[in-house]
Amino acid sequence: MADGILVKQLNAWFGAAHVLKDIDLSVTPGGLTAIIGPSGCGKSTFVRCLNRMHEVIPGARATGTVLLEGDDLYAQDPVVIRRRVGMVFQKANPFPTMSVFDNAVAGIRLAGVRNRARLREAAERALRQAALWDEVKDQLGRSGASLSGGQQQRLCIARALAVEPSVLLMDEPCSALDPIATAKIEELMLDLRRHLTIVIVTHNMQQAARVSEWTAFFLMGELIEMGVTKELFTTPRDSRTEAYITGRFG
């Protein structure tokens, strides 16, 4: 079950700094949308506004409308929102005091699920979806932090998937990983879409070209252009997009 997101006139601030300006954009359900742009363009901030993690930072605020299948995210309890819109972060952050199994089910267990059978089933399902099951199925009791970097990130993906969100946000999920681990996660992304809407922030344009169906280009807090990935990368409409993609600036 994948949901679409409609963003209208989204503005965001860090204190007095206006970091997102009048963003209007639509995320297609069941698709993979990439957000690209140079450092500081607001792409991470944008994505964090989609699951209301932006406002967690002291001094940060956002205005505008974000609709998830018609529901106004900013009119609901953020805790509930974050169960529908999951997130994977740049640096893998498995809970260090928990085992692989505990990490995988942390989201549902800490929310109150106690039934051991349900937890086991959820863990296996999530770890399989994250293409990690075969590597850890005999060592579920291992510390979450004892896995390799790529495995840790897949564990974080499993942890997010276990909550069964309808949208998964990924904030530069591969930037701390080597090419092979990155390739595994990219294949994973391609497998996950359809029954999940994915939004990925990446500073690696080739990655956006490889995996996404739609791409949005942000620059200095503004949405410059958004379109079907193939068109954006071969015949961009805006000259700034072309300059960024061809590497002629920043």
Binding site: M53, V79, G86, F89, K91, L110
Partner: protein, 280 residues
Amino acid sequence: MTTRGRHVKSAAIGGLTAVAALVVVTPLLLVFGFLLYQGAAAVNLDFFTHLPKPVGEVGGGMANAIVGSLILLALAAALGLPLGILGGMYLAESQDRRLPLILRFLADVLNGVPSIVIGIFAYTVLVLPMRRFSALAGGFALAVIMVPIVLRTTEEMLRLVPRTLREAGLGLGLSRWKVAVRVVLPTARAGIVTGVMVSIARVAGETAPLLFTAFGNRFWHGGLDQPIAALPLQIFAYAIAPYDDWHRQAWAGALVLIGLVFVVSLAARVATRGRYSAAR
């Protein structure tokens, strides 16, 4: 600088740091050694099981003082630890601007208040209304000393937990307090336990506040609302007395006191070790 010069300098600094470490450890070893030397002879089974003998008689022990110290520590912990840890959690997690600042300042001030003043405070608040000295008052005074230590170290340890872990918890759709209790607290467990042990070690040896709260007792205490013996008090009383036998018992008491703190620390470490320690 030449390679040789660099090596010489490196070795010199290395040597200096080793010497510094030795200088720090030496007093600890000397004290312990001295205590062992002076007190080991008097530490026997009687010491742990008998009550003090009447004035002038040889022999007897400090059983009541040992038990009394343990009871006072337990009371102090029961009162002080929850307050300190919860307070530390509040200071670390709160996003309020003013209140945490004030609290922190007050805690630091309280930390610096002489323990005898805290004793007087406890005397006024508990002993006078109750019209008697009591273990409760002693425990209360010790708790007041413990709270700022536990509070500040808990806060510091919680702050050391990386923000990314909190974000991970929040990102899963967990409420802030759940993240604080089930994710952040366990991760900081080792550090918090250290803070707790430091505070216990500190209050275990406090004598002044107990002078007019627990007061001391030659016999077993009759209840928590009665005066109670404590090792520091007993050591004090014996040390200033003119009897050699009591002097020896005072040394033994000091040795046992340090041993007590050591055992409690060890037990706390063992009891709270997690299966996986947080990488720090």
